[in-house]
Structures are given as structure tokens and as C-alpha cells.
């Protein structure tokens, strides 16, 4: 008797979960032809498998824990009127859909896929096309947004939302997405303990990546290219930025990386190429920037006088028009062991560290900072002369703006 009871419970343990989870097909030859009916019929833990086809069902709400999968990229169309997918339950998976033409409204920000107050939601391998907001997560934790392609065709910042918009969330993973044509590629506001990894964000109207009030986050190995204003990290602390590439962010207010009111962060192994300004720092404190490469930028780094206790070590500055510029005379940051291709000193003891300190701030960069049209005179002989004499006897540039141990050869990074 006892044996039978034990066997019964074992059987229950083995079969119960399987017998409960069913696959509900949606499509022309399937049990349901409409997604909404299928979701209504589904139990928690079921899979709703949608066959390829065009589905115009307005706003689809997923309010139970299901696997919502698409076979051969079925198309969910919002007809420019509706928010397309609203996820209002924990542990939902959405995978393999093409989500297109969401509505446009500035009051409730409809998105292609929007997550409301939910945890452990996974959104992967979807194709989002021409939506107001692409993927929108509010009050989500432990959500994963992975390998999605997000494309929109914004003309004007006011008329288009962000590619991946995260608000008041925690522990998110944004991995391997391609975002283009939105206002901001990836937008973080009040998002903590999250990681952004291997995304490509390009041709967005404003920022490739936009951080506001988002502490303790990290982004690695992303590519930000040709965005209206580059990447902005603002009002935040403890951000780790590593191995990213910032490229071709051109314009007066465009920066490879804009740091505003940031503290205690770490910037390493990044590659800044062909930006008007590689890094622009304003009100940043206690940042360590090391092992980055600044190549062919207009300005390698613009460090405003409001920054203090930043450490800039072991970076390579190559082919920049100006390596560094600043707007004041107060210098509270330290530079050490960077490679400056404009360094003209010597190294008698062959330890790869130049024997004379290097003043990275050229007189002309100070002049241009104060009087922009002077850029017109750049590389004229007169200006080169002024620069040379200033290098010998600094008078206008701050004397302590100095790299005491400039490297003779570029660090291998």
C-alpha cells in the first residue's frame, strides 16, 4: 500500500508538469485563427505557437505566464493605431515575431512590445519595424532583451520614440540587439544593476545610448556609430564602460561619449574614432579612464574645469586634431603614461617613458575654446609658431596640465 502511494506521487511529479503544458497553435489550419482567442484559452505555462501570416488584432495583452512563439516570423501589425504587444505577467517569453507599425501617442507612449511591472520576461529574436517605441520596459526586473532587430525611420526627435526604452527597472540584460532610426537607440532612466552587451546602435536621431539616473550599470563591447549626438551618460554613478566603439558622431553638440555629472565610473578599452569630440566631460568626478584609444577625432577629450579627481592613464592619442581641450585654468585631474603622437621629447634611459613632461593642451585649443571661428586659422604657420613658443614657456595654458610620464610608443591595446 505504502509503495503504491509512493509510486503515485512519483508519477504525479513526473507527469503533472507535462500534462499541464500544452502547445496551442494559431494559424489558418490550426485550432485558433486569432492570437487573442489563443491567449484567452491558454493556461499558465502553455506555449502559444503562432504560424506565419499577417495578424491585425490591435492591442494584444499577454496577462499570464506563457511562451509566446512565432514560427517563420509571423507579422503583428498595429496599423499605426495600437500598442501591439503588452506584457503584464511575469516570466513571459516572446520570440520570433515581426512587430510593425505601432501607434503614435505622446501621452501613453505605445511601443511595439511593452512590458508593464513584470519580472523575468524574455524578448528575443524579434524584428521590430517602424514602431513609435521599439521595446519598452517599465518597472521590470530580470528581463532579457536579446538579439532583436529594431528599425524605425524617425525624421524628427519629437515624432519618434526610443529603440529600447527602460524605465525604473532593475537587473536587465540588453544583449546583441541592432537599433537604428529611433530617437535614442537604447535609453535607460532609473535602471540599476543592468548590463548592455554586444549591441549595435547606429543612425539614431539623438543618442546611441542614453543613461539618466541609472546607477551600477555596465556596458561592454557595443558599437555606437553615426548617431545624432553620440552617447550620453548623465547624472549617474558607478557605470562601467568597457571595450565599446564610438565612431563618426559628427556635429557641434555631438560627442563620442558625453559624461555629465558622473562619478565613480570606469572607462576602459574603448575605441573612439572620427568623432567631433571623443569624450566630453562636465561635472564628472573620480572617473578612471585607461587603455582607451582616441584616433582621428577633432578633440580627443574635452575636459571642462568642473571635473575633478579624474585619472587618465595609459591611453593612446593618435591623429587627433586636438588631443585635449579645457575651458578654464583649474586642473584637478591627473594624466599619466599616455601616448601622445604629438610628443616631441626624448628617452635617454630607454624605458619607453619620455624624459620631459608633455603639455597635451595646445595654445590653439585654448584659443578655439574661447573663440571658435579661430578654427579657421588652424595649421597656419603663424599659429604653429605661437603653439611652439607656448609649449616651451606655458603662459596662457595651465602649467600643471601635464603628463609627467608620456609614453614614447603607443601602448599595445
Amino acid at each position: 500500500m505504502k509503495m503504491k502511494i509512493v509510486l503515485f506521487f512519483i508519477a504525479l511529479l513526473i507527469f503533472a508538469p507535462i500534462s499541464k503544458a500544452t502547445i496551442i497553435g494559431v494559424g489558418k489550419q490550426k485550432a485558433f485563427t486569432q492570437i487573442k482567442q489563443a491567449i484567452a484559452a491558454a493556461q499558465a505555462g502553455d506555449t502559444v505557437l503562432v504560424e506565419s501570416g499577417l495578424y491585425k488584432e490591435g492591442n494584444i495583452v499577454i496577462n499570464k505566464k506563457i511562451f509566446f512563439l512565432g514560427n517563420n516570423l509571423p507579422i503583428l501589425d498595429g496599423e499605426h493605431k495600437f500598442e501591439i504587444l503588452s506584457i503584464k505577467a511575469d516570466s513571459v517569453t516572446v520570440k520570433g515575431f515581426r512587430v510593425q507599425h505601432s501607434g503614435y501617442a505622446t501621452l501613453d507612449d505605445p511601443g511595439g512590445i511593452k512590458v508593464y511591472d513584470s519580472n523575468f520576461v524574455t524578448i528575443s529574436e524579434n524584428d521590430l519595424y517602424d514602431n513609435f517605441f521599439g521595446i519598452y520596459i517599465q518597472y521590470g526586473t530580470h528581463c532579457v532583451v536579446k538579439n532583436n532587430t529594431i528599425v524605425a525611420f524617425g525624421k524628427d526627435e519629437q515624432q519618434i520614440g526610443n529603440g529600447i526604452h527602460c524605465w525604473k527597472s532593475d537587473s536587465l540584460q540588453i544583449i546583441g540587439n541592432h537599433v537604428s532610426g529611433h530617437r535614442d537607440g537604447i535609453y535607460f532612466e532609473f535602471v540599476t544593476h543592468s548590463v548592455i552587451w554586444r549591441n549595435i546602435s547606429f543612425d539614431n536621431l539623438r543618442y546611441g545610448l542614453h543613461f539618466m539616473f541609472s546607477n551600477n550599470d555596465a556596458y561592454f563591447t557595443n558599437l555606437f556609430k553615426n548617431n545624432g549626438a553620440g552617447v550620453a551618460v548623465m547624472y549617474t554613478k558607478n557605470v562601467t564602460m568597457m571595450n565599446n566603439t564610438f565612431e563618426e558622431n559628427w556635429g557641434d553638440a555631438a560627442y563620442g561619449l558625453l559624461l555629465k555629472e558622473i562619478s565613480d565610473s570606469y572607462i576602459s578599452g574603448n575605441f573612439f574614432q572620427r568623432n567631433t569630440s571623443g569624450i566630453y566631460m562636465e561635472g564628472t568626478n573620480r572617473i578612471k579612464a585607461e587603455k582607451n584609444v582616441f584616433k582621428s577625432n577633432g578633440w580627443g577629450m574635452k575636459i571642462q574645469a568642473s571635473c575633478m579627481d579624474n585619472v587618465i592613464n595609459n591611453n593612446n592619442f593618435i591623429k587627433n586634431t586636438f588631443d585635449i581641450s579645457t575651458n578654464g585654468t583649474l586642473v584637478l585631474n591627473t594624466f599619466n603614461e599616455n601616448y601622445w603622437d604629438k610628443y616631441e621629447g626624448y628617452d635617454l634611459n630607454k624605458d619607453n617613458i619620455g624624459d620631459i613632461p608633455y603639455h597635451p593642451l595646445s595654445l590653439f585649443s585654448v584659443i578655439v575654446e574661447n573663440n571658435e571661428p579661430a578654427m579657421l586659422l588652424y595649421r597656419s604657420f603663424m599659429v604653429s609658431l605661437l603653439d611652439k613658443s607656448e609649449k616651451m614657456l606655458p603662459s596662457l595654458t595651465p602649467e600643471n596640465f601635464i603628463d609627467n610620464k608620456p609614453l614614447m610608443r603607443a601602448a599595445k591595446l
Binding site: D252, N297, I318, E372, F381
Partner: protein, 255 residues
């Protein structure tokens, strides 16, 4: 006319100074590109050559050459040759030899080492600058019969365009810093061929920095096709106007 040009060029070749100039340009350029591992520094060295040495050699050599051939000119004038033809042939002969010197000396390394867009722009601009300063030399030397004075004028003109002008512009910039003068500045640069040349190259060399606010104004102007056409037309005017002026004077001058 062709005969006179041929004669002038052969005379210049015999004189060997232009050959040495070619050689010097070649040594400068090859060493500039050879010494630095990063080609943009070589470009900068060459930029200084284009902006300083090319104008200096062009204006000085042409001035001295014209003074030295005054007897030859007098001889030609006594022959049944139009004065216009004589003056034009001299101009073409001098320009051609200096342009070829630049093309062989600096052009080849530029083609080999520099990025294509920058290299081609430097070659074009260098040739034009050579001819511009030949034209200015023609005007300067026709103004005075005294050789010392003529050479003095040439040196002063070079100093003005190569050094003084930028200083004046810088001074203006600071005096008028409170006004929106960006567009005016574009106009002012058009009054110096060397500055025009420099900005044309700058737009290729420092493209990232030029995308900043003021830079963008220049970029919009000089970077567009119409801007390029305008810039090159202005440079062409710097050739045509001084030469035509000198031609007018030469036609009526009592030698």
C-alpha cells in the same frame, strides 16, 4: 608664341635652380613620409612646404627671372611679335616649369603615401599656388624698374600672405569675438590665396574637428560642390587678375 615658351623653358632648365628646387621638394617629401610612421604627420610637413616654400620660391624665382630677362624682352619687342604674346609666353613658361617641379618633387610621394582625397587636393592646390605666385611676381616686377626694389616687393608680398595675413585675421577675430563673424571670416579668407589653399586642405585633413559649429559653416561652404567651385574660381582669379593687370601695364610700358 610656342617658340618663346620653349625658349623660356630651356633657359630655365639651363639655369638649374628649378632642378635643384625639384630635388629639394623631393627630398623633403620623401623624408617627411619616410621618417614618420603615421602619414598624417608627413602630410603636415608637406602642408607647411606648400604654404611657405612653394610661394616663396615661385615669387622670388619669377621676379628675378623677369628682371634678368629684361634685355631678352627688349630684343623680342623689337621683333614683329605682339607684346601680349611675349608676356604670356614668359608667364606660361615660368608657370609650367614651376608646376612640373612641384608635381615631380612633391606630387609623386603624395600620390604614393597620402590618403587619396588629401593627396589629390594637396597636388591641385600646390600647382595652383605655384601659378598664383608667379602671377603676383609678374605684377610686382612690372611695377618697378629697379631690381632691388622689385625683389623687395616680392619678399614683402610673400611675408604678407604667408605670415602677416594670419596674424591680422587672428587679431580681427579677437577684436570682434562678441559678434557673429563666422560668415564674414569665410569672405575674408578669400582675400588670401594661401589661406584659401590651407582651408581647402584642412577640410580634408581635420574633417572631424571641422564638423564642429564654426567648422560646419566652413564645411558647408567649402565642402559642397558649389563651395569647391567658388574656392577654385577665387584661386583662379588670383592668377588671372594680377596677370591681366601686369599685362595691361606691360603693353603700354616704355621699356
Amino acid at each position: 608664341m610656342n617658340k618663346i615658351i620653349k625658349f623660356v623653358i630651356i633657359d630655365i632648365l639651363k639655369n638649374k635652380i628649378v632642378l635643384v628646387y625639384t630635388l629639394l621638394l623631393a627630398v623633403f617629401s620623401w623624408s617627411a613620409f619616410g621618417l614618420e610612421d603615421n602619414s598624417s604627420k608627413g602630410i603636415l610637413t608637406l602642408l607647411n612646404i606648400v604654404l611657405l616654400i612653394v610661394p616663396l620660391v615661385s615669387i622670388l624665382f619669377s621676379t628675378i627671372y623677369i628682371y634678368n630677362s629684361s634685355e631678352f624682352i627688349e630684343l623680342l619687342v623689337s621683333q614683329p611679335v605682339e607684346r601680349k604674346k611675349i608676356w604670356q609666353s614668359l608667364f606660361v613658361g615660368l608657370s609650367l616649369s614651376l608646376v612640373f617641379a612641384y608635381l615631380i618633387g612633391a606630387g609623386i610621394p603624395l600620390l604614393l603615401y597620402a590618403e587619396q582625397s588629401v593627396g589629390l587636393m594637396m597636388i591641385a592646390v600646390g600647382c595652383i599656388i605655384s601659378v598664383v605666385f608667379v602671377a603676383i611676381a609678374f605684377l610686382g616686377s612690372i611695377l618697378s624698374r629697379d631690381k632691388a626694389k622689385g625683389i623687395g616687393i616680392a619678399i614683402l608680398l610673400w611675408l604678407y600672405f604667408a605670415l602677416l595675413f594670419d596674424g591680422l585675421v587672428l587679431f580681427l577675430l579677437f577684436q570682434l569675438a562678441d559678434y557673429p563673424i563666422e560668415k564674414m571670416m569665410v569672405g575674408i579668407t578669400a582675400t588670401s590665396p594661401i589661406d584659401l589653399a590651407r582651408i581647402l586642405i584642412l577640410l580634408h585633413l581635420d574633417v572631424s574637428a571641422m564638423m564642429g559649429y564654426t567648422g560646419a559653416i566652413f564645411k558647408d561652404f567649402f565642402g559642397s560642390t558649389t563651395g569647391l567651385i567658388i574656392a577654385f574660381t577665387l584661386l583662379a582669379l588670383w592668377i588671372v587678375v594680377p596677370f591681366l593687370l601686369s599685362l595691361q601695364i606691360f603693353k603700354r610700358k616704355d621699356l
